[in-house]
Symmetry: C2
Subunit: 169 residues, 2 copies
């Protein structure tokens, strides 16, 4: 039995008491962009309930073109207005560099990815980078309520990242 | 008080009883790629517990270059081996076309996005498209255990998408 099959049997049990459907647009008009890290259950971390917010996740919680695509659809077609960005301590993206990762891939496959891996060396700086990428983007219309946080995987707590380095969070 | 502030106060309550930290690599060696839809709590749907799987999410659960970036990092650096793809009924991506969405954006901002919006008209076909994009990708090394599902937002149940149209799921 594969891991996938185990989770499918969990799903069959879950469906027995399932209560749906809810409306399509997020009821709290919120979109979250977070790292894919296995330890970040965004629903628990924010006390988020089903139907309330879009959840966008990728390696690092980076604001890539694809995150912009998702945010654009989220705001323009489905009415979200606030954005929460979540990076976290002990992130895998702090453990390598784009150059070494892509060289390793090229060595094994003879093909070099045309994309950036988006590794980073400073958590708070990368959160600020992510906020800036949203604010300058022409397609995301509502950027007044964009706030960035670092989730501490040891304590479960979110720390807000100040807009400028050295300010209080 | 903004919606974001409400969720931050939830987080403070959550952190009181938080139990961490867990190890960085996902303990079940699984990556999930799912739609950002607000009704999809992937942890509940799969009975997934913190620390077990990477969760990658975007508009549609599309296998974009950014999803490939995340899967590449997930498998090559953090040891995941199985992939579960989740699309769902009543998806926003079924309600528009790339052309009309991008024309509307261009009309308002005078700039046309250089990215595809990734709207689709057939759920199961798009799941199959996503599986194929992973299987042909040179950077994702483990593609034997890639399975695709449609989540029914009315019943809470996952239906497996057959590899070829018309086969039993």
């Amino acid at each position: 039995m594969s891991v996938t099959d185990e989770y499918l049997s969990n799903n069959a049990a879950h469906a027995v008491s399932f209560d749906g459907p809810l409306p399509l647009p997020p009821s709290r008009h919120l979109a979250v962009v977070a790292c894919m890290d296995a330890r970040l259950n965004i629903y628990e971390i924010l006390g988020l309930t089903k139907g309330e917010a879009h959840v966008i996740r990728n390696a690092g919680g980076a604001v890539t073109d694809d995150a912009i695509r998702s945010l654009t659809i989220s705001q323009r077609l489905l009415g979200t207005r606030e954005i929460i960005l979540i990076h976290h301590t002990d992130c895998g993206m702090l453990t390598f560099t784009d150059d070494e990762f892509k060289q390793q891939i090229e060595k094994e496959t003879e093909i070099r990815p045309a994309w950036a891996a988006e590794a980073f060396s400073d958590l708070e700086d990368d959160v600020r980078q992510s906020i800036r990428r949203i604010k300058v983007n022409p397609f995301v219309p509502y950027t007044d309520a964009v706030r960035g946080f670092v989730f501490d995987v040891a304590t479960g707590r979110l720390h807000e990242v100040p807009a400028h380095p050295g300010e209080a969070g």
